[in-house]
């Protein structure tokens, strides 16, 4: 029973980051019908940004006390989100805006080209091997009711939750969030109601990129490494989360992300860790067979 709860907790922690990255994919896809293949690379940029800032400041490995550590973490987060947000805006203006609304493969391939360029830029700048990201948060482990949680896991989870709550608030309770939902459903009608669709497009990609950046920082610190290809597997799984959840409700993507994390943790704990990466595909196959529009429904593509 203890192991069950432990794996459940591990799973929720891991799943929260899948959810954040998947939300970025899902946001851009539902609002603009664009699959942004460069999204995982923006996630990677976030992790490298953390690396650059932390090593640049010459922070000793876990040598800070808690308030300083938290301040540093927030600072790194801020810088990374700024960087990835800017990258996302540039991407939107140069690559996504000219190709959106047409055949679905055009932005797909255009962003694929960007992702190839970004992966290789990272290799060129930082080398092909993973770089060590000094962990900022003091590595305490908390034991609550027999369940072990490290401080970094907690920080990652809290960051993810904060982001998801912020996104939900934005989408449901703000004027621009409302406009975003309207554009997702019927862009022409929204435009005729006075919504500047180009601006919504920029906002959406910007927000998705900021989220990816934050997730990148969290993961970079959690695994204390950043690598040029870290986006690939993560991106694929998050993409699958988005497909499984359907693009109608952002809460669905959050739920599926967490679900995937939990199921992966359970399978790793109880069966075998070799199958971990297969879970996502199994889930996808099952959903495609029984409910192809996603578990919670989609807009028409």
């Amino acid at each position: 029973m203890e192991q069950f709860v432990q794996q459940l907790v591990n799973g929720i922690m891991a799943g929260s980051t899948y959810a954040v990255v998947a939300l970025g994919f899902g946001l851009v896809f539902s609002v603009m019908r664009v699959v942004n293949l460069a999204h995982p690379e923006i996630f990677m940029i976030g992790a490298y940004a953390a690396f650059v800032v932390i090593s640049g400041l010459h922070v000793p490995d876990a040598g800070l006390d808690v308030p300083a550590a938290v301040a540093l973490f927030l600072g790194v987060l801020f810088v990374a989100m700024l960087t990835t947000g800017a990258a996302g805006l540039v991407l939107e203006r140069l690559v996504i805006r000219p190709t959106r609304g047409t055949y679905i493969l055009t932005p797909f391939i255009a962003t694929a080209g960007v992702s190839i360029a970004l992966q290789n830029s990272a290799q060129r700048l930082f080398g092909p091997d993973p770089v060590h990201v000094p962990s900022v948060i003091p590595p305490n482990t908390f034991i609550v009711g027999g369940v072990r949680v490290t401080s970094m896991q907690l920080v990652t989870f809290l960051t993810a939750v904060a982001i998801m709550l912020a996104l939900r608030y934005y989408v449901h309770s703000t004027r621009w969030g409302r406009a975003t939902r309207a554009v997702a459903e019927k862009p022409d009608v929204a435009a005729a109601c006075g919504v500047n669709v180009n601006l919504v497009s920029q906002l959406t990609v910007g927000i998705a990129s900021i989220m990816a950046g934050a997730a990148g920082v969290a993961l970079g610190l959690l695994y204390t490494s950043a690598a040029p290809f870290m986006g690939l597997l993560y991106g694929l799984k998050s993409f699958i989360c988005m497909l499984v959840a359907g693009n109608r409700h952002i809460e669905a993507i959050m739920a599926v992300g967490l679900l995937l994390g939990v199921v992966e943790a359970m399978v790793t704990g109880y069966i075998s860790s070799n199958l971990r990466d297969a879970i996502a595909f199994a889930l996808l196959l099952a959903v495609l067979f029984f409910r192809p529009q996603g578990l919670f429904g989609s807009y028409e593509v």
């Binding site: 004027r175 409302r178 406009a179 939902r181 309207a182 459903e185 019927k186 022409d188 009608v189 929204a190 435009a191 005729a192 109601c193 006075g194 919504v195 500047n196 669709v197 180009n198 109608r248």
Partner: protein, 237 residues
């Protein structure tokens, strides 16, 4: 008196297909004008071109003296034109209230929006009842009211209505056109594209006849009702 809306030489084409060929039309302040014609005649294309949803290949659209044909739809809306699309097209995942609020998107927050929303809900009490319901759960007639209410939220001077009677029950259609008269009474001009010539001519001041992208005739509603061409339209539409 110069026209509120002036369309000259409008050309709309989709690839090699010329949907609208050299169309001239105008709408004066306080008028209801109708574009009549069969399915596929090009009525929707004219409406979309005025709204900025499709870029015309030629011609001009002027509204209160301002050239509109190069503007994006949200700018056209800001200038005072609102669109009631063909087939209602309410935002089904937004609530009734949210639909109305989107209609007023280009206005700033504050009193104007709230007051406007109350006005619209006075006009359509059913919408007030169903304020927090998702728009997708409304009936066809209710959705049409919502679409019109949403368009009115931006305080337009001109309302573009694209086939408003499509898919609606006859009783609902009648009250819809009565509603158009009410809107005109409030000082809002209307340009509507309609297949239902009889109802449209009942309320319009002036009507154009559109065939295969060209204006084949136009005149006051009384003239049109009496003419031979309209018998053709009745048979054809």
């Amino acid at each position: 008196m110069s026209a509120l809306l002036q369309v000259s030489g409008l050309e709309v084409a989709y690839g090699p297909v010329r949907a609208v060929r050299g169309v001239d039309l105008e709408v004066h302040q306080g008028e209801i004008r109708a574009i009549l014609g069969a399915n596929g005649a090009g009525k929707s294309s004219i409406i979309r071109a005025i709204m900025g949803l499709v870029k015309p290949r030629g011609g001009t659209v002027a509204f209160g003296g301002q050239a509109l044909h190069k503007l994006l739809p949200h700018k056209v809306n800001e200038w005072g034109i609102a669109w009631v699309p063909e087939g209602r097209q309410v935002f089904s995942t937004l609530t009734v209230e949210e639909n109305l609020l989107i209609g007023a998107f280009s206005r700033r927050h504050g009193q104007a929006t709230d007051a406007r929303q109350q006005q619209v809900m006075d006009m359509f009490p059913t919408l007030r009842e169903r304020r927090t319901q998702l728009a997708g759960s409304l009936s066809g007639g209710e959705q049409q009211m919502l679409a019109i209410g949403r368009a009115l939220m931006s305080n337009p001077r001109l309302l573009l209505m694209d086939e408003p009677s499509l898919g609606l029950a006859p009783k609902v259609v009648r009250s819809l056109f009565d509603l158009a008269q009410e809107i005109r009474a409030r000082g809002i001009s209307i340009l509507m594209a309609e297949q239902n010539a009889r109802q449209a001519l009942r309320v319009a001041d002036y009507a154009y006849l559109l065939e295969v992208g060209e204006i084949r005739g136009g005149g006051s509603a009384r003239e049109m009702e009496a003419s031979e061409t309209i018998r053709r339209v009745y048979l054809g539409g």
